[in-house]
């Protein structure tokens, strides 16, 4: 559905995107994570046709997005910083979106009204709270019935109930219409619940891109209680982090966990080996540590 190939973007000599490659399948919920300044918002603005890349290509359904009206009709975008016209109320914005998106569903707009009971349709949106403005953005975006929904820090400012409600609406859209969602967020706990694919960005590149289950299965925390040193793992494994408190050693290992456990058990006498699952947040932290992203031990 979405293909980003070797995209490069510079701002006044600073390379914000340095050959980004990204692939999102139809109907996927793709979480884009990365540290501040990694280039997440920049690649999102390429996906929505706002920015023109210096090199590479950004395709949706096999077509370039930039300046392609027909492709953009299939994309809805909720940016991190929302914009509404001066004096505009929700009804006026609805009419505006209705005029621009041929697939806009007015009926659905009024059906969804019950999900957003606090929104006064005739009230100036700029006078609504940040969270309510976000609700309006979701409301309008969903009614556009897009094939691709792109969200940049989407639930920032929403209360927990509204977050859950919005995610459930989105999940239903994904399930019903195979809508593709690309979501950039720092709330990895939340992404873990909704995403099926994850891309980790750092320094203008997507360094890891795979399904969440693959990612979680491939990086594990192994705790070893043994006398002496933990045996060195063979080639094919990468120890992202290692620490010890007394005889208890903790290893974050990329590679098959079963093989790693077997190797450690065989190499260390009187050892107790335990494999613990890693959260997306932990995976992110360790992966980032592996690419010189400074991670302090106290985070562990």
């Amino acid at each position: 559905m979405i293909q980003v190939n070797n995209v490069v973007k510079e701002f006044d000599g600073f390379r914000a995107l340095d050959g980004v490659n990204m692939h999102v399948k139809k109907g996927a919920i793709y979480g884009l994570v990365g540290p501040n300044g990694a280039g997440k918002s920049t690649i999102i603005r390429h996906l929505t046709g706002v920015y023109r890349q210096d090199a590479g290509e950004v395709m949706v359904n096999g077509q370039e997005v930039f300046e392609n009206r027909l492709v953009k009709e299939k994309i809805a975008y909720i940016p991190d910083e929302l914009f509404y016209f001066l004096q505009a109320d929700t009804m006026e914005m609805m009419k505006y979106y209705e005029g621009l998106y041929p697939t806009f569903d007015r009926e659905m707009f009024f059906i969804l009204k019950e999900y957003f009971p606090t929104i006064d349709l005739k009230r100036n949106i700029r006078r609504l709270s940040k969270g309510m403005q976000k609700q309006v953005a979701f409301w309008l975006a969903i009614c556009c019935k897009p094939e691709v929904l792109i969200l940049d820090e989407p639930v920032d400012g929403l209360d927990p109930v509204m977050r859950r409600q919005i995610w459930s609406i989105l999940m239903a859209e994904v399930a019903e219409r195979e809508m593709t969602v690309v979501v950039s967020s720092h709330n990895l706990r939340e992404l873990e619940d909704v995403c099926d694919h994850v891309g980790i960005m750092n320094k203008g590149k997507v360094i890891i891109e795979r399904s969440l289950s693959d990612l979680q299965g491939n990086v594990t925390k192994i705790q070893v209680a043994c006398e002496g040193e933990v045996p060195k793992l063979p080639e094919g494994f990468k120890v992202l982090h290692q620490s010890n408190i007394g005889r208890v050693h903790t290893l974050i290992v990329r590679g098959n966990p079963d093989e790693a456990v077997a190797h450690i058990t065989a190499g260390a006498e009187k050892s107790i080996v335990d494999v613990l699952p890693l959260s997306l947040e932990e995976i992110f932290i360790y992966e980032m540590g592996g690419v010189d992203y400074e991670v302090k031990d106290f985070l562990l």
Partner: protein
């Protein structure tokens, strides 16, 4: 599949209309008040309750259609429209939002242009429509002119919005947009003054770049160009009846319409290439940035250095060329970096790469300055060919105008002055504050004018030869007569009268503060018949060459007798006698005073206001006479205005003349 090319989006247009309606409303109201509102008012004023002739109605209608009333309004409205309609590009949030929507830049740009033009033109159309209705209701002739006005105004709106559009695409900051629009409007004059300030400072005697250069600057200043050239020209028959009204300045309108098309196309190309992330930047077109830095730097360097030079000269510190060049480079560098700070919105511009750029810029500044300096030398030595001269003027005591080949003496005087240019300049720069300004100007056959102004020291024998040539021209009988009585002096038949005045100043009283006591002044009235006879006597004295020396400044350069102290410096003499005559120029006089614009004349002719016509031809002459003016003195005696030749000075002055 690529989307079809479309230049319009209904939803965005609707948004533009509904979002900015207050601006539309105020502008529409102003236009309606200024045009149909005034037409309605004129036709309902009590003032006209006694009858309002069709011709007067028409005249008032045409008054509301004067283009100069609307040029600034349209320009300002176009700027406001531009600031509103292009504002979505000047904020990251709005720029990102709008450009992520399913609408391409072609549609956005096209819709913005259509919105802007609708904003400006629809109210004009409404005004024209209302005026048409009023013309029908009040039977005012001239509906055709209302619609011609509308089309011209629509063209002005197209032009004004094109300038705003090109400026809007060059910046990413809403506050900078009006600055750019003003700069574009004034660019030609800024360039003109930049060159002018160098050339008039360093070119000896050069005061202007000539009328052609000024005209050119005026043409490329859109507001001035339309204000000056776009108007209704009234054509009258020999009997003074209005026969036709035509539109003037159409060629400028067409020129600017072509430019407007270029501006719209260029703005579109720039928009297509624009980076949305540049929202908030002062300048968004990368290739313009070095040009902007250079141009701001050059302007700042030259204007700044000239200003400091003036201060140094005023404070007598002096400013030679080496010091001036140093100032040019230092101020230029400051302006260069200031321009860079403006572009980058940062004070951190003193980087190695920028210093290199500044070095290149310094070379450009020097080339630009010395280029203008060379031009100043060219201007300084510019003496037109005699065959190219339509008319030439020289002024020391009074203005003398010579035509065609007869202008040779003025050319010769200018060449003499230029031959001593270094010496003349050195006298003034050495601090000689007693000098006379001699103005020489040429009207050339190609329409250009050349004007020079030379400061000649008053007491300098080396310059006497030049002074003598000028005073000889002033002494010329014909020149003097034309200057005194006008070109048609021979055809003067109507005199109103005049007065004879005498002052006596006791030499001992000269040093006193008040040496014009009333008792030493007397006057007598001259009636119309006497005035005509005295006029004839004056002509005779002028022909005899006995009157000019009392009235011409600089007589000392040609007369052995020192009449200088009795002429221009007359109050240092002892007795002065003056004659004042009031008369009317002949009807065919071409040098009658011009007063007011074409429409003023139209008023005058319609109401056949004789006072108005007389005012155009009324003149007074005030002359000093002296003992050598035999014809005049004899005439005064003959008319019994004075007792005898020996008693021409009367009252307290009588004793002195014995």
């Amino acid at each position: 599949m690529k989307s079809k090319i479309s230049f319009f989006n209904k939803t965005i247009f609707k948004k533009n209309v509904t979002l900015y309606w207050p601006i539309w409303g105020i502008y529409s109201l102003i236009v309606v008040i200024m045009q149909p509102g005034l037409v309605w008012l004129f036709n309902n004023m009590d003032y006209f309750s006694n009858g309002y002739a069709d011709e007067m109605k028409f005249r008032d209608l045409m008054d509301t259609l004067r283009f100069e009333n609307y040029v600034v309004l349209i320009a300002f409205a176009a700027l406001l429209a531009g600031m509103a309609l292009y504002s979505y590009m000047y904020n990251n949030k709005s720029a990102n939002m709008i450009h992520s929507l399913p609408v391409d830049r072609t549609q956005l740009y096209g819709t913005t242009i259509i919105s802007g033009l609708a904003f400006l033109i629809v109210p004009l159309f409404g005004a024209a429509l209302l005026s048409t209705l009023l013309c029908l209701i009040y039977t005012i002739p001239g509906i055709g002119y209302v619609w011609l006005w509308f089309f011209v105004m629509a063209a002005l709106a197209i032009i004004a919005f094109s300038i705003v559009s090109i400026c809007a695409l060059f910046t990413g900051h809403i506050v900078v947009l009006p600055m750019y629009v003003v700069a574009v409007n004034l660019l030609s004059w800024i360039v003109y003054y930049l060159i002018s300030v160098v050339i008039t400072t360093f070119g000896f005697g050069v005061t202007t770049l000539g009328s052609n250069a000024e005209d050119l600057a005026g043409v490329f200043c859109p507001i001035q160009c339309f204000n000056d050239n776009l108007s209704w020209a009234y054509h009258y028959s020999d009997t003074g009846e209005l026969v036709d009204i035509s539109l003037t300045g159409v060629e400028f309108l067409l020129l600017y319409l072509v430019l407007a098309v270029v501006f719209y196309a260029a703005a579109y190309v720039i928009y297509r290439k624009r980076k949305i992330e540049q929202a908030g930047d002062f300048l968004t077109v990368n290739w313009v940035k070095p040009i902007f830095r250079g141009v701001v730097g050059i302007f700042g360097a030259i204007f700044g250095a000239m200003l400091v030079r003036e201060v140094l000269l005023d404070t007598r510190i002096g400013c030679g060329m080496p010091l001036f060049v140093c100032m040019l480079l230092i101020i230029g560098a400051i302006c260069y970096f200031a321009a860079d700070m403006f572009i980058k919105k940062s004070f951190h511009v003193f980087k190695k790469k920028n210093w290199l750029g500044c070095g290149v810029f310094s070379v450009v500044v020097l080339v630009a300055f010395f280029g203008m300096y060379a031009l100043a030398n060219k201007y300084e030595n510019e003496v037109p060919k005699l065959a190219d001269i339509e008319q030439a003027e020289i002024q020391l005591g009074y203005e003398i105008t010579l035509y065609g080949e007869a202008a040779a003496p003025i050319l010769e005087i200018q060449k003499d002055i230029l031959a001593q240019a270094d010496y003349i300049e050195s006298r003034v720069s050495d601090g000689d504050r007693y000098y006379n300004m001699v103005r020489i100007s040429y009207q050339l056959k190609d329409g250009d004018t050349i004007t020079r102004r030379y400061a000649l020291s008053q007491e300098d024998e080396k310059l006497n030869a030049i002074y003598k040539k000028i005073v000889l021209l002033e002494q010329d009988e014909e020149n003097y007569l034309v200057n005194t009585f006008g070109k048609n002096y021979a055809n003067i038949t109507t005199f109103y009268g005049g007065s004879l005045e005498a002052y006596f100043i006791n030499p001992e009283d000269r040093e006193k503060e008040d040496y014009y006591p009333d008792k030493n002044y007397d006057s007598k009235n001259i009636d119309a018949v006497q005035a005509k006879e005295i006029y004839e006597a004056i002509l005779a004295d002028i022909k005899a060459g006995t009157l000019m020396k009392y009235n011409i400044y600089g007589g000392k350069y040609i007369y052995e007798e020192d009449v200088y102290t009795r002429g221009a410096d007359k109050y240092y003499g002892s007795t002065e006698v003056h004659i004042m005559l009031d008369y009317l120029l002949s009807e065919d006089a071409s040098d009658k005073k011009t007063n007011g614009s074409t429409s003023d004349k139209y008023y005058g002719d319609v109401v056949e206001d004789q006072e108005y016509v007389d005012y155009q031809r009324q003149r007074s002459v005030y002359l000093t006479i002296g003992p050598d003016c035999e014809h005049v003195i004899n005439k005064l005696v003959e008319l019994e205005l004075v007792e005898s030749v020996g008693h021409i000075w009367w009252g307290d002055a009588e004793e002195l003349l014995k």
